[in-house]
Symmetry: D2
Subunit: 127 residues, 4 copies
């Protein structure tokens, strides 16, 4: 068992998932499989792969490429991810996924929830 | 929109998932739903809840408590988690889940994989 | 080299640090040593040690217990941490550190910064 | 206070630091400032900046560019980081930092420590 191998494993690092998302994805309308697809996309993007294909996702998931394609389609349609066009220095166009809509949905949910709580507290005070 | 609320959100923090696990859970025999159940258990344990109930898991997952119970049973049976008995200072017994078996399975897989690679390299050299 | 040991190492997990804090601690008035002290406190608190002593911090840092005490004093005085009193079920009082002031300072800074940017943009539009 | 801004903050994400490193950097011979320099390098590399300059580091640290240069020099000399040469598809050469030596040092330390513990246990059993 060589040391270099273990060092390589430690070097792989981790993906950090905000607890807020872990605790509220259900209320946002995400299933566990969809959450995992987003997690894989996030991880791919950290590795510099900005537009992972259904086949690439399927290599890491228990889904077929067709099922991954369907999951991506749903995530786009439900507004959790978007596709952005990039133009690089050589004027070459390329597409990247963006998870920005996911974070916006989360903030929207948290703000609505905190407004509801405030309202409730005020009503209780008035009684 | 008050500042304290946003500060509270930032303070929630994140759960870190090793990329090695994210890339190989499929080969270990875990489904996406089982992975998510483990992730929730890990998060509960970080909050000091060492033996989350099916009902507690079901609050955060899109599963019913019965389905969470079934998932926990499967994770135990397939050897991804174990139940450990703790005895505290007042001699009160309590049970906690342990994810140690999961990490042992991952290391076992990684070692086997690196042995296979070494063998292949040696065979290629010999030819 | 036994597998159990490597599994134990992987099981240790990671502490997640928001990039926002990493990029702006300097502007908040934190030095590198103070940042590290906060990081150790955060890690201790995740382990269930809510009021790490200067001696406990000194075991992990290159500082003496007296220097750790001085660092804690400064962090309290500059308003990055606070001490909160807890009363448990048996009415036993205990003290815990809270990092909430740190997150409030960060949000305060980010909001001020985004207001300044907006103002600048508006002024540029008017010209 | 617009929602998009808060979403952007959440989207920034976190850097995950292995607790093993946090608990043992002192024994590896790293100071707090050196640890922070490594953390910034890691974060830059995640952003795709593989060879951060002293000036770039100095923007985020309380050090001057000259002090950052000196810190990088020390980290190289003490064997915590290395410089690797990359050749891209257009045969353009570029240099990148690598943190692999850091992880190797950590594994080396952990293995030595676990051997010492085993020896001690065996000696205690023999008595």
């Amino acid at each position: 068992m060589d040391k270099g191998k273990i060092a390589e494993w430690l070097a792989q690092g981790s993906v950090a998932i905000p607890k807020l998302l872990l605790q509220h994805y259900k209320q946002l309308g995400l299933s566990e499989v969809e959450f995992m697809a987003l997690l894989h996309m996030h991880s791919f993007m950290q590795e510099g792969i900005w537009f992972p294909t259904p086949a690439e996702l399927a290599e890491r998931m228990t889904l077929t490429p067709a099922q991954c394609m369907e999951t991506l389609r749903k995530l786009l349609q439900k507004g959790f991810i978007s596709i952005e066009e990039q133009v690089d220095e050589q004027a070459v166009r390329s597409e990247t996924y963006s998870l920005k809509p996911l974070w916006e949905k989360l903030v929207h949910y948290l703000l609505a929830q905190s407004l509801t709580e405030e309202k409730k507290e005020r009503q209780e005070e008035e009684q």
